[in-house]
Structures are given as C-alpha cells and as structure tokens.
Symmetry: C2
Subunit: 363 residues, 2 copies
DNA sequence: TGAGCTATTGCATTCGAATGCAATATTAGG
DNA sequence: CCTAATATTGCATTCGAATGCAATAGCTCA
C-alpha cells in the first residue's frame, strides 16, 4: 500500500487534510472526477510528477512512472483537456464551419478523420444558409479553438478578425481575390468553362443555367463561369433559373423551363449535382423526355449519387479528398507556425464523361 | 479616459505593475487574448464585476454594466469558455459519435441545430466502422463533455463507464435489451416485419436479404426481423447476402444473386436504402430487368434519395427528425438532472409505398 | 570516499472565469 | 438626518494541469 505522501495542494486546509487521512485513502469523493492530485496521492508522488508522466519526454524515472501508471489505471484517470488547454493555450480543437452539410457529407467525413489522425478534434458548426455565419463566429472565439476550417463564406471583416486574433483559418472552396486568406479550392470557373466548351463543341446552342442559393459564392462563380464562356462563344440563348441546391429545386427549375415561353433549351447547366439529378428525373419521369437525346443535363461536384447508373451524370468532379487533406495540412502547419504566409491552393476539377449529356466524338 | 483601477491580480509582481503603468494603458499585449482582467482594468472595475456582467441575473448596477460593456466592445472581449468550463464543470459541449456519417447526413444536421438551439456545441467523432469506438472513448472523457449522443454501438462495459462517471449518454437507434441505457429508436424489427408481411401478402414467395456490415447491430435487427417473420410465414426460400451498407455493395449483392444457383428471388430485402438503390440500378441497367415487374426491391431508412423518382423506393421511413429531437431533449434533461431514470423511447417507422416493389391491392 | 555531474522530484505559480463572503454604497423609511 | 435594509462591489479562492526553478537523489570518476 502506498504511503500517503504529503503533497496536498499548497497549504491545504488542515481540516481537509485530516479528513483525507481519517478516511485513510485516496479514493476521490464519489461522482467527482479523478484528478492528477488523486493519482499523485495514491501513488505517493507530487502532482507535477503525474503531469510529467503524460508529457512526451517528461523527466520521470522508470520506477516512478511505473508507480504512477499503476495508480492511473487503478483510478481510471484521464487528464482533463480543458484544464490543460487553459495553461498550454492549445485546445486541440478545430472548428469546422460547413454549409450544406446534407449535400456534402463526404467532406465532413474526410475532415474528421484527417484531423483526428493528428490528435485534433472537430467542433462542428453547421449552417443551413451561409448567411448565418454571424451567429457562430463569437462562439468559435469563445471556445479557443486552435484553428478553423470553413466551408462557408465569411465577410472580409470576419476574416480580418481571425487574423488579428491569430487564429489560423483555412477555406475550402471559397476563394477571396482581394484578401490574403488561406484557401484550398477547386477551380470552379475553369471547370465550368471547360464543361460549357464541351457542350458547345458537341453542338448545343440553347442553354439554361440553374443557380444555387443567392448567398452562395460558389454558385455565383460556377454560374458566371458558364454564362461568360457562353457569351464568349457567341451564344446568347441562355436562360437563368434560380435554384436552392437541392433535388426539388432542380425539378422545379426544369418544370419552369418547360412551362416558360420558348420551350426547353438543348442543355441545362446546373450549379451542382443534386439539382442536375432533379432535372433529369423531372425530364424523364414527368415530361417523358429522353436524356441525353432530347435534353442534355450537366452538374458540378461529382457527388457519389452522380455516378449512380440511373444518372451517370456529366459533371466536374472536385478532388475533394485531396482538397481536404491539403486544407488539413495547411491548417496544421499554420497552427505550428502562425507566421507562415497566407497561401492559396487551387485544384482542377476533372470532367466526368457520363451519359447525361451529348458530348460528341470523345465518347 | 478611465482611470487605471488598482485591480491587478492579487500581489502582482511590482515589475509587471510598473510596466503596465508605464505604457499607461489597458491594451493587452499584442497577440494575447483579451481577458476579463483586461476589461476590468479598462473599465476601472474588478474582474468579478466583469464576470457578473456575463451571468444571467448577475448583480451589477446599470451604470457599471454600461461601463463594462463599453470596454467589452472596445477591446473585443469574449469570455473564455475553457476557463469557464473549468470552474463551472460545464463545457456546454456534447460529444456526438456517429457511424456511417456519409449515409445519414441529415441526422447530424438535425443534431447540430437541435443542440445549438440550447447553447450547446457538438464535438464530433465520426467512425468508419462501429468497432472503432474504443479509440475515441478516452478522448471524449478527456474533453469533459456534458453529455454524449451515440449513433454507434458501445459495449456494456463502456456504457457502464459513462454511468459511473455520471456522463449522460443517449443512443439513437441502438437498443440494449439488458442494459438500462437511454435510447431513442425506430422499431427496426417491427418495421421489417410489416414490410415483409406486405411483400408476402402481395404474393412474393422467394426472397433474398442483403445485410449491412457484420458489426452493425441495426443491420442485425433488421435482418433478423425479416428472416424470422418469413420463417413464421412458412417461407424458407431465403438467401442471405452480406453487404456493406453502400451503393456498390447493393449492386454486388444483386450480381451475386443473379450469378448464383437458383436464379433471382422474387423480392430483395435490403438492410438500408443505399443498398436497395444499388440493387435497383444493377437490376435495371446491367441485367435489363424491370423493377418491380420482374423483381421487387425494398430498403429501410427513408433517406432523401429513396424518394427520387428514378427509384421511388418501398421502404420504412424512420421519423429521424422526431427521433433526433427526442434524443436531444432526453439528453438535455439528464444533463440538468443526472438522477433521472434511464428511459427508452421507441418510434414506429412508416411504410413508404413506392413503386420499387409490388405491394398488391393497396396501390 | 568525495567532488562534480546529471537525472529526478517537488514547490509554487500560472492560465481565465466564477463565486462565497465581507465590505461598501445606495435607498427607503421614519 | 439617521438607521436599517438592500443592492453593488471587490477580495480571495477555486477549478486541474503544466512548468520554471530550486532542491535532492543518484551516479561517475578520480
């Protein structure tokens, strides 16, 4: 039995000390969490020794370490990350802000495992609309996260705030031309331009584009990429329909096109895959059209559903796993070295040549 | 200009004090986070006053509150949740353990907003396989979360650990018959039995069931619900194929059935919707079968994709939003009152009468 | 055996906010 | 204008782990 070491906290109140000795043990009061002091008392060492046991390269003799670890196992001690964070100023938590979670679950899955692999944890903030960001910025700050990964749009002022407060921030798929912010993106404009080029080369002459919600910058980029490229190519028959990124709004968009004056275009360019899928379903099952023979539909993202053989969507696949890995490593290196200069990494999307659009000779 | 109040910490080192006075201000050192002491100094009050300003019903005069809030805004102060958590023993964080995140993104979205609404935050642990739980249990403990919501299987020992440590734990869709654990479930067995009843009533006599991964208890429940009910009804022509919950394994399962001896069954019962969708696609696009005329396919879950008109899946819709709300409120009330008795809430699933299976007269 | 090192150990303090208690300030009542 | 009651305020301590520094133990080598 270990001897009761005289290592109560500082000048612990005599009463307390006595009580501890009276009950002659080291079992923490029921319901209270086991602390490093409990372990120290049980093992007959000081609290600092216990602390050092949990520190890489901490100076502890094998004999002491052994005693301590035995006590740790016996009492079921786990260091308190909250208390540790207070003194080390490292919470090992990363805030993840993500909009449209329901459409892009893979992104979050990749993020979580990437961050966990390096001993970090994810404090999740999910937004239904990008414009809700305000609500959560303060909370992020309060939790003292070590860094932030954002898949949502922040205002210039908000970005500057993170900069002032020296909290590393990395965006995924949000590019800021005039702000020196870290980001990992897929080139939305390039991808959309190539996609449009292919459609035009294959003979399409009348178009419709279906946008995402108006507060989505990604949607704006994709749409303007498409519209501008079409204009470059001298095509002016372009209708614009507003969507909301989801399946239903894709269906609605196609219905609107069918009902509207001028009839259906030859190709529908959607700001994401979900809406493209909605368009296809509406076209095939409500309007009795053949896709791609009567109508070409293309999307953007390369979500798993796009590859399902009912759709086999022509789309631009974002290399999301690479992008997430890049974002995580970009963030982690900035947590280690806050002085690193801001950096932007841009990946190219890959055209997926499915069967939802006539793409001409190449297939 | 507010006068520098003499409220440095305790017997602050004279040197430090002097420095502060020399620079004649209250601006915290660059890069350091603004603390309640900084605010107090700037506003000429004590740190406790600042703290009380942020406490519901804290005793502060309007005049003082005003001064303090002005300082708060000026310095951009945000209370440090970590430090607060240390003393209050409330982190306002809830751990969410979720397996198969990529298949059930809605669940997480509902959870996040439900918890945020009550001022709680989500510390996310996502698992690729349920069996990885061990890895994260310790970490949850270290972060001192106020409670846990689990959409994954824990061992009896692990559940008891949470109980001992008085951390409320609520399961979603994991039912433990012989353990008094909190849970909110959809009745998997009942749903599957009703589904099977309908299929048999509509004349199906040969079946295949496609399971989920072997470590998924939910899959086991669904499958045994189906298999046992079929046995009850005197149907023994039931093949069992192992799947992995994803689209590809659904396709693979159907191929296996088609290639195997005995040819295709009349109905394929899948442990979830994703696999059912895979089955349908494989049947229609690879094997040229008509669904439901040549083959009936049913799933379980009621995910959004199941309702897409290309599939229009017959399935059991779990009232996931209700379930999540119930789980959140169950957890929150146990955080407030840890003595509440364990409780199980069971919701019934709703049969969705789609067109992927012949269901007979009712449609 | 003893001087000179190095490896362990413990002490005391720190991180930032919350809070019981005592000391003031304010107000009401007479 | 004074007393009693109430409302504000500040002081000092607490939460649990980490860490600089000083003290001690243990070891090497002459």
């Amino acid at each position: 039995m270990p001897k009761a070491a005289n290592t109560g906290k500082k000048a612990a109140k005599p009463a307390k000390q006595t009580t501890a000795k009276a009950t002659a043990d080291f079992t923490p009061e029921a319901g209270r969490r086991v602390t490093s002091y409990d372990v120290a008392r049980y093992a007959g060492v000081s609290q600092s020794a216990v602390s050092r046991c949990f520190k890489e390269g901490g100076s502890v003799s094998p004999k002491t370490r052994d005693k301590i670890m035995k006590a740790v196992r016996k009492l079921g001690y786990q260091p308190n990350a909250i208390a540790r964070g207070l003194i080390t100023r490292r919470s090992n938590m990363v805030a993840v802000i993500i909009a449209n979670l329901r459409f892009y679950p893979e992104t979050l899955a990749y993020l979580t495992s990437g961050l966990n692999a390096s001993g970090n944890h994810v404090l999740l903030f999910s937004l239904d609309h990008e414009s809700e960001v305000d609500r959560i910025i303060d909370q992020i700050w309060q939790y003292g996260v070590d860094g932030v990964i954002a898949g949502a749009h922040l205002s210039k002022k908000q970005i500057e705030l993170f900069d002032q407060r020296k909290i590393p921030l990395v965006f995924i798929n949000r590019l800021y031309r005039d702000i020196a912010a870290n980001s990992v993106c897929c080139d939305q404009v390039e991808g959309e331009r190539i996609l449009v080029d292919r459609l035009v080369a294959a003979g399409h002459r009348s178009f419709a584009v279906v946008t995402g919600p108006s507060d989505s910058v990604v949607s704006q980029q994709r749409i303007s990429g498409a519209v501008e490229r079409l204009a470059d190519l001298g095509i002016n028959d372009v209708r614009v329909i507003e969507g909301e990124y989801d399946y239903d709004s894709g269906r609605r968009a196609l219905r609107e096109l069918a009902d509207g004056a001028g009839g259906l275009p030859q190709a529908v360019v959607c700001a994401n895959d979900m809406m493209a899928i909605g368009c296809m379903d509406e076209a095939r099952h409500q309007l009795g059209l053949r896709v791609p023979e009567d109508l070409s539909v293309v999307g953007f993202d390369g979500v798993m559903q796009a590859a399902w053989s009912s759709y086999d969507l022509v789309t631009v696949r974002q290399p999301m796993q690479n992008m997430v890995e890049a974002a995580v490593s970009m963030l982690l290196s900035r947590i280690e070295r806050p002085d690193l200069a801001p950096e932007k990494r841009m990946f190219s999307g890959e055209i997926v040549e499915g069967c939802s659009a006539r793409l001409g000779t190449s297939r």
